[in-house]
């Protein structure tokens, strides 16, 4: 074998040798032979490769004939394997995109994200002041870049104002990731300081959509959050570093009040992030060591703000794939699930092959008695398996192309109000094709090996007249039994996964049903820091807006609130203190979600308070601060007492100096899921907008209106413009869309698992059916004798179903144990469902028992109808 390969590799040289040699021979011969030298050469050369190829070609021809002849078997096997291979290729394409493919940044393996963590390992944002010190001190990092994600309103006289994802970013960020503007210039160090002329670089998407790709956009002056700013560059397409940015502004220009990048050292807001590039020849560990030293020096110099603060350098991929949604883990879990499906498909096909093997034992015996070696027979069977896998692989590949398309578009749709995530590239590359090839080959070995070994051991007894190869039948049945048990066990695991996911989805779905979501639409607003520097100005704006909206007849109900349900981020969390209860020592105070709401909030949401009263116009005045809590809050913090009349205080970690009045609880509202991807209903405190001492500059309009969505949205925009002409609305979403977004992890997971479990169940029941039906055919004679001797039909059916039950029980036992283990892996994605949820596991077991019994009783009933006379003649 090796020499043949060597021959193929050195073909040219060896053929030249041979030609020269024969030439030499001819020149020496006196009595010349007839015939051409080329012929002699060819004959000699063919020794190397021809018989081998001929054998293989023969095997392939035979295999094709067999597959064509046994069309039903071929179809069943190809469908099963194609589903398995298709699902695996699809899942691998995502794993490849998320784990193996490089980020579209220069040398991404040298880039790191810098996280700040407190003494308990909790993540904080980074402080701009710290970043500047790191930058100045670190020798192991060639670039240190800070970025603050920010909503940027772009306004100019000739075009309507629009809101974009913006970043206040260090000037050398583009340099760090190795990208340069395609138009205009990059930022210079001089741009990145306070008082520099205001400049911005825009993304390709914005250049195309807003300016129609006009190159004269360079030098244009626009109002960026009300500050006149010159556009100096356009970045290449599909570049939105760090995540979805469309407008970049040098961070140094914005530092200090009244702008947003807070230069105070203690300010570590979660939305400020830092990245760095390792200097040449430096490892991440070395850089980490240096950063540790710098951090402890800063802790000595600034004990008030930096004590107990440490930093961690992470591979930059974590910032893209490891985050909140944990897409990486999610893909790996799905990868595991599809591997199960493929295993089931392999087991199924192996069973079909084994069943066929009994029929083929005669053919094989003839072959071996004619001198075929065992290796030769195994090779022929292997060629059959590879051919089958190759056909299934091509079908599976086509399936996976559609699978990837569908799943990728579902993922990208989740990015709301910005460009599609530029780092998500789920195209198929060489690695995916290699994976497909390896999976096909591995599958063919996996499903082909047991039958091949079994068949090749068949002895020649089957050739004897009337011989049935009794011992071979028993061996085959043992293989089949083991395969059946493993198939059932794998199916149980997948079904259990699907059950847990469906339960979680239902839990999320149920939670959202509190809201009457029909005809509800929401719009987000981000006020500029320039125009609205004081809390009074912010409150004034929202009061005016609210009055205008309330007067507008187009809306049946409308209100403003600091956040909409299911979209509230962690920066709306507050630390709770309850009057009269001492804080637990050495423990952080409990956090609660915090919303300030306009008048008519509960009316617009169509929520009726469970107890107490809504806010009146007197609430919120100094000394009359009032709060409404949700039911979850009441049951968490006041399980045995009446919360109404109690006083609470709410501290904002991001603004420790803001005033903290005592709020008196006046009402209890129904529980509405509030946080992004909330898993459990969280405690919520509502206060009136009037009573909010320190409002931030974001708010949402929530309106109910019948009719055309575009008309309603433009009506809303118009009302906003009347109050502030430079203020665009964004994140325009109906409540139904919000609900869909909030459910997507559970929905995608539940549907993927349900689909895979359905395939598994189908394969398992087809497998059971085929095996039982085959057994009935095999044992017709025996059944005839039994019936002739007086066995009644239930006894005959039991003969076959008994085996299924034993296999089913074993499969269930193994499968449930596996399901509990897998459930633990899924915990992260489960909502109000235990990993070993008895309801899910019970239903799954019941389903499998019903399906498996049906699949085996059905063909077994045929056995009961056997006519003993016919059966005994049967041969």
């Amino acid at each position: 074998m090796l020499r043949r390969v060597w021959y193929l590799l050195n073909k040219r040289q060896l053929e030249a040798d041979l030609a020269e040699e024969i030439e030499f021979h001819r020149s020496m011969t006196t009595a010349r032979e007839f015939g051409s030298a080329a012929l002699a050469r060819n004959q000699a050369r063919d020794v190397w490769i021809w018989p081998w190829l001929q054998d293989i070609a023969q095997d392939v021809r035979f295999a094709v004939r067999l597959l064509v002849k046994d069309r039903r078997f071929t179809l069943a096997a190809v469908v099963a394997l194609a589903l398995g291979i298709g699902a695996n290729t699809t899942a691998f394409t995502f794993v490849n995109g998320a784990l193996l493919r490089d980020l579209p940044l220069a040398n991404p393996d040298r880039l790191v994200g810098i996280r700040t963590i407190d003494t308990r390992g909790r993540p904080l944002g980074v402080s701009y002041a710290d970043v500047r010190d790191w930058r100045a001190a670190a020798r192991t990092l060639s670039h240190v870049v800070v970025s603050l994600e920010f909503a940027i309103n772009v306004a100019e006289d000739s075009l309507p104002a629009q809101r974009y994802n913006g970043s206040f970013i260090s000037f050398d960020a583009f340099n760090m990731v190795g990208r340069a503007p395609i138009l205009g210039r990059a930022f210079l160090p001089d741009d990145d300081r306070a008082g520099a002329p205001r400049v911005a670089i825009i993304a390709h998407t914005m250049w195309q959509n807003r300016y129609g790709g006009d190159p004269s956009v360079i030098g244009r002056t626009v109002r960026v959050n009300d500050v006149p700013t010159t556009i100096i560059g356009v970045m290449p397409a599909e570049f939105h570093f760090p995540w979805g940015t469309e407008v970049w502004v040098p961070v140094g220009q914005t530092a200090g009040p009244p702008n947003t990048m807070d230069a105070r050292r203690g300010n570590r807001t979660v939305i400020t992030v830092a990245f760095a590039r390792l200097a040449d020849g430096v490892t991440r560990a070395q850089a980490q060591a240096e950063m540790d030293a710098i951090t402890s020096r800063l802790a000595r110099d600034f004990p008030a703000t930096n004590e107990g603060i440490s930093v961690a350098l992470d591979p930059i991929e974590n910032a893209y794939w490891g985050g909140e949604f944990g897409l990486r883990q999610m893909f790996l879990v799905v990868m595991g699930a599809v591997a199960f499906v493929l295993l089931i498909a392999c087991v199924n096909v192996a069973n079909l092959l084994l069943a066929r093997a009994v029929h083929r034992s005669r053919e094989i015996a003839i072959r071996s008695s004619l001198g075929a070696t065992r290796g030769r027979i195994v090779r022929q069977l292997f060629v059959e398996s590879v051919l089958l896998a190759a056909i299934a692989g091509s079908v599976g590949f086509v399936l996976s192309v559609y699978g990837v398309k569908a799943f990728a578009s579902a993922l990208v749709r989740v990015a709301v109000g910005g460009p599609p995530p530029f780092w998500m590239n789920f195209s198929m590359d060489g690695r995916v094709y290699a994976f497909l090839a390896v999976v096909c080959l591995a599958t063919s070995i996996l499903f082909g090996l047991a039958p091949a070994l079994h068949i090749s051991k068949t002895n020649n007894d089957v050739l004897k007249d009337g011989g049935r190869g009794g011992s071979s039948g028993i061996r085959a049945r043992r293989w089949t039994g083991a395969l059946m048990v493993s198939q059932l066990a794998l199916t149980v695991v997948l079904l259990a996964g699907a059950g847990l996911m469906l339960r979680s989805f239902l839990a999320v779905y149920q939670a959202g049903r509190v809201l009457d979501s029909s005809d509800m639409i929401t719009m987000r607003l981000a006020l500029s820091a320039q125009k609205y520097a004081q809390p009074a100005q912010i409150k004034q704006f929202f009061r005016q807006l609210d009055e205008r909206l309330a007067a507008e007849r187009a809306f049946s109900a409308v209100t403003v609130a600091s956040d909409v349900p299911m979209m509230t981020l962690t920066n709306s969390l507050r630390q709770l203190t309850i009057d009269g209860r001492a804080p637990v020592p050495n423990e952080n105070p409990p956090t609660v979600a915090y919303l300030y709401i306009g008048p008519r909030y509960f009316e617009t949401m169509r929520l009726r308070l469970i107890r107490g009263r809504e806010f009146t116009e007197h609430d919120g005045a100094p000394g009359r601060e009032a709060a409404i809590v949700n039911h979850r809050f009441a049951s968490m913090f006041f399980p045995d007492a009446d919360p109404i009349g109690q006083r609470i205080r709410l501290a904002n970690a991001a603004a420790p100096t803001a005033p903290q009045p005592w709020f008196t609880i006046v009402g209890i509202a129904p529980t509405v899921p509030q946080m992004v991807f909330s898993k459990a209903p969280e405690p919520v405190v509502y206060v009136s907008l009037r009573g909010e001492p320190n409002p931030h500059r974001f708010a949402s309009i929530i309106a109910r209106a019948e009719g055309d969505r575009a008309a309603i949205v433009s009506r809303l925009r118009e009302e906003v413009r009347k109050v502030d002409p430079d203020l665009p609305g964004y994140y325009v979403l109906t409540m139904d869309e919000l609900l869909a977004i909030s459910r997507w992890p559970q929905r995608i997971f539940a549907s993927v698992f349900a689909l895979l479990a359905f395939i598994a169940l189908l394969l398992a029941s087809v497998g059971l059916y085929a095996v039982t039906a085959h057994g009935v055919t095999q044992r017709t004679q025996e059944i005839g004798i039994r019936v002739a001797l007086g066995a009644r039909s239930p006894q005959v059916v039991w003969l076959f179903v008994r085996r299924t039950f034993v296999q089913l029980l074993l499969g269930l036992a193994v499968g449930l144990a596996g399901a509990i283990a897998v459930g633990r892996l899924l915990t992260q994605y489960l909502v109000r469902t235990a990993p070993a949820d008895p309801v899910a596991l019970g239903l799954v077991s019941a389903l499998l028992i019903v399906v498996a019994t049906t699949a085996s009783v059905w063909p077994a009933r045929r056995a009961a109808r056997v006519d003993p006379v016919v059966a005994l003649r049967y041969e």
Binding site: R3, R4, Y7, D17, L18, E20, E21, I22, F24, H25, R26, S27, M28, T29, E33, G35, L39, A40, R41, Q43, A44, R45, D46, V47, W48
Partner: protein, 112 residues
């Protein structure tokens, strides 16, 4: 001797055995092997290139001989074949086999 036997008339494997035996004494190029076979068999075995070279390639493939370029008696480039250790072992095996075969044929011819 009416007809000179071409190797296809020989028993399968015999030509390979003869080549191995020829090479057992000394390394030799293809033409030399053919010459030697003719001489030793007193012109009974005349091996043509169309059977000699495929046989040599088969032996190379099985690893029983090695080939190396060298200079011939008349100073031309020629490929010399040499028995490998495996080839030497094979020669012994094949010889025994062949002897048994010949014995068997004799028996058949003498009893039938």
């Amino acid at each position: 001797m009416g007809r000179i036997p071409e190797p296809s008339d020989l028993l399968p494997g015999t030509l390979e055995l003869l080549i191995l035996k020829t090479l057992a004494r000394d390394e030799m190029h293809g033409y030399g092997i053919a010459q030697r076979l003719r001489e030793v068999s007193e012109d009974v075995l005349q091996v043509g290139e169309s059977s000699l070279y495929p046989a040599l390639q088969r032996l190379l493939l099985k690893g029983w001989v090695k080939a190396e370029w060298g200079a011939s008696e008349n100073n031309r480039r020629a490929r010399y074949y040499k028995l490998t250790a495996a080839g030497r072992k094979q020669l012994a095996v094949e010889r025994d086999e062949f002897d048994r075969l010949i014995m068997a044929i004799h028996k058949v011819l003498n009893t039938a």
